[in-house]
């Protein structure tokens, strides 16, 4: 009886926390369904800053999909930034993975002088926030004449240290005997990586892809620093730019922006869990 009561109370507490956490997301789904005048009334305290608080009708008075229609049919800017985001994120993910896999394989499989020190430096770099290296990155990119180009965002991200760390854990789990037996059978190091490393380290690689996607999709600081031209802006800069007076478009755009992230999460959920578990166990 006591055990049941304890379990129930835990569930209740967790449910309350869950509702609190989910509340902003719930609002993001509810508000775009309001008609533009109703939504303007809801958001007016945010625009006027007159000390009043927003009064939210959780069920729209006249539910409508007009805001989505306006966004999807009459706001071509949104598609420009959507595909910008997609291009930047996709490019980074592709080249980041291509760069991270050999690096991680080297850290996991080879023994060379200074390996430990180099790996430690990688971890230190992983922990340094962007703001610390922002100025130096800015100067380097400016010297390379890459300012205000997509490469300014893509290039530094390709060589991020976090994917190396995450994939390294997946490769480190592979028993050395398996790789050695492949070598005995005449496989060179690239073949070992291709036929042994990649299939066995797949969960780590996919976990890295999923996590990186979620991070890159919402990336703000790098585009804000390196991009001046609106034509190159990603979604993460477009949404804050709209402001509260374009609330209807902003909220609808936020929902559409969420969709790719949700898909990627659903597709890579299993690998993400496995990859994180593998990393955690090994550490």
């Amino acid at each position: 009886m006591t055990e049941k009561l304890r379990v129930s109370s835990v569930y209740i507490v967790m449910a309350i926390i869950c509702v609190i956490v989910m509340f902003p997301l719930l609002l993001a789904v509810i508000l775009p369904l309001q008609a533009s005048d109703e939504l303007a009334g809801t958001l007016s305290p945010l625009i006027k800053f007159n000390g009043d608080y927003s009064k939210i009708d959780y069920i729209a008075q006249y539910p409508t999909l007009d805001n989505f229609k306006e966004l999807l049919l009459y706001t071509p800017d949104f598609y420009r930034v959507f595909w910008n985001s997609f291009l930047i994120t996709g490019s980074i993910l592709l080249f980041q993975t291509l760069a991270a896999i050999p690096a991680a394989w080297a850290f996991a499989r080879f023994k060379f002088k200074g390996r430990k020190l180099l790996f430690d430096i990688y971890i230190i770099f992983m922990l340094i926030p962007f703001q610390v290296t922002m100025l130096s990155q800015y100067l380097v990119i400016d010297c390379m004449k890459l300012m205000n180009t997509r490469l300014a965002v893509i290039l530094p991200a390709i060589f991020s240290t976090f994917p190396v760390f995450l994939i390294y854990r997946g490769f480190a789990d592979i028993p050395r005997d398996v790789a050695d037996s492949a070598r005995i059978d005449g496989a060179n190091e690239w073949q070992v990586l291709r036929y042994i490393g990649l299939p066995l380290g797949r969960s780590g690689i996919l976990a890295c892809v999923v996590l990186s996607f979620l991070d890159l999709w919402n990336m703000v600081e790098q585009p804000l620093t390196f991009l001046k031209n609106k034509r190159l802006y990603p979604l993460s800069l477009y949404l804050p730019m709209l402001g509260a007076d374009s609330g209807a478009i902003l909220l609808s755009a936020a929902i559409v922006t969420l969709i790719p992230a949700v898909f990627v999460f659903v597709i890579g959920q299993e690998e993400l869990e496995q990859g994180i578990i593998a990393s955690a166990l090994k550490e």
């Binding site: 049919l73 009459y74 071509p76 598609y79 959507f82 609106k230 034509r231 790719p260």
Partner: protein, 465 residues
């Protein structure tokens, strides 16, 4: 199970991406369809040119109007506008029978009016008075009659006068008896008061007696003409004058006009109804048609070309501010075959019909004749230089001097250069038919001003050029 969900998620994600790709093009098309297409022009700094083009006629420097008494029937008229006439040429013949009738009628009217009270002007007349309270038996004169000093003007009723004398006499006797009574009673104050009355009545009695002794006649005190008789037989006289006599009598204005008109009719009759040209020149105006009656306006205007020619044009009130005496214009005649340059404005005056102004320009030409139609052409530049925009770019409200314009603001957008229509108020300082010189505050010097748009614009609207 998880694998199935994953596969389905991948499928839906692909569908989502495909839908986004299609919508990218669709939204671009729809957005472009919504966007107004505008044409624009640049703001320019220049003077406003006022182009003037007015039609007018060549006229003689001096014009001689031919006036004919009003209301006469035109029998013949062989000359038309533009015809050259010589001095004393018959330009019109009037119906003499109709003229005779008119003259006879007028004569009758004048004769009637001369007998009326209002025929003569009473200004400067000498009034003739008589005793008040007497009845008029006969009026011996009428207005217009000449009278000499001492002539009988009217006779008074002798019976009425003798009764008045008897009444006054009785009243006088009664007063005298009363006064004697006062003396006996030694009431000197009352006696004195009544004495005044007695003296007054005695004087009245003396005047009445004098008139009676004169045969009850009222005589003229001066020689002249009777301008007005103010009493008639049977009236009782008052303190006012009974007759007005003027040493130099004048008829009233109306009568005078009629007399003048009669004189004019007689003169025309003497020429058998012919109207002659007063000078050699060109007939520039004709206001008489055969069978119709003449009007008060000049029947003809004959331009006397012997003293030179001028060009005369009627100019609208709005444009007159740009023309002043001394300005020089070009004139064109005969479809541009004859041009006259350097024609100076000699005179500007309000048109007779009040519908604008008449401008006279000097003109020297041996080829041109009076009555020829020509065109005045010129361009006057404003003294001040303005920021100029086409007039059709301004949207005027109630005021003619204030309006709104749209200018295009260029910015870097998500698709490269974006153009936004911005509204701006302008004050019109000066304008012509095409351009307006305006005051623009806050407008960039190289601003692109919207001339026309395929859809109604609003402030902040995205447009395409």
């Amino acid at each position: 199970m998880k694998e199935k969900i994953k596969k389905r998620a991948i499928k839906y994600f692909m569908i989502f991406l495909a839908a986004m790709l299609i919508l990218t093009f669709v939204s671009r098309m729809l957005y472009t369809e919504r966007m107004p297409h505008v044409s624009y022009t640049k703001l320019t700094t220049q003077s406003i040119a006022h182009d003037l083009e007015y039609g007018g006629t060549v006229e003689a420097l001096k014009s001689r109007p031919v006036f004919v008494p009003e209301g006469l029937r035109v029998l013949e008229s062989d000359v038309e506008c533009g015809d050259r006439v010589i001095k004393n040429q018959i330009i019109m013949k009037l119906d003499t029978e109709y003229l005779h009738k008119k003259a006879a009628l007028l004569e009758k009217e004048i004769a009637e009016e001369l007998e009326s009270v209002s025929a003569y002007s009473s200004e400067g007349s000498i009034p003739v008075f008589t005793e008040a309270g007497l009845r008029t038996a006969e009026v011996c004169v009428k207005a217009g009659d000449s009278v000499s000093a001492g002539q009988v003007l009217l006779r008074l009723d002798s019976e009425y006068l003798s009764s008045r004398i008897a009444d006054v006499q009785n009243s006088l006797n009664a007063d005298i008896s009363t006064r004697e009574g006062y003396y006996e009673n030694e009431d000197m104050h009352s006696a004195e008061t009544i004495t005044n009355n007695i003296e007054e009545k005695q004087r009245e009695l003396d005047r009445y007696t004098e008139i009676y002794n004169n045969g009850c006649n009222v005589y003229s005190s001066v020689s002249g003409a009777v301008t007005s008789v103010l009493v008639k037989a049977g009236d009782v006289t008052s303190d006012s004058a009974v007759v007005l006599i003027s040493g130099s009598p004048s008829v009233s204005c109306v009568l005078s006009e009629k007399q003048e008109r009669l004189e004019a009719l007689k003169k025309i009759d003497e020429t058998n109804g012919n109207i002659y040209s007063p000078a050699e020149g060109i007939v520039t105006s004709k206001n008489a048609a055969i069978g119709e009656l003449t009007s008060e306006n000049a029947a003809f205007i004959v331009s006397d070309v012997s003293e030179g020619i001028i060009f005369r044009a009627n100019v609208d009130e709005d444009d007159i501010e740009y023309i002043s005496v001394g300005d020089v214009f070009k004139l064109r005649f005969r479809n541009g075959r004859i041009k006259a340059e350097g024609c100076e404005v000699k005179r500007v005056y309000k048109a007779a019909d009040g519908s604008g102004y008449t401008v006279e320009l000097s003109l020297e030409s041996d080829e041109l004749r009076a009555g020829e139609v020509g065109f005045l052409k010129g361009s006057i530049l404003s003294e001040e230089k303005y920021e100029c925009i086409p007039l059709n770019a301004i949207e005027f409200g109630r005021s003619e001097t204030r309006g709104d314009i749209f200018y295009i603001e260029e910015s870097e957008g998500f698709f490269g250069k974006e153009y936004t229509a911005k509204k701006c108020s302008v004050t019109v300082r000066e304008k012509n038919g095409t351009y307006a010189g305006v005051d623009v505050n806050g407008l960039p010097p190289d601003a692109k001003i919207v001339l026309s748009a395929s859809k109604k614009l609003y402030d902040g609207q995205k447009v395409r050029l």
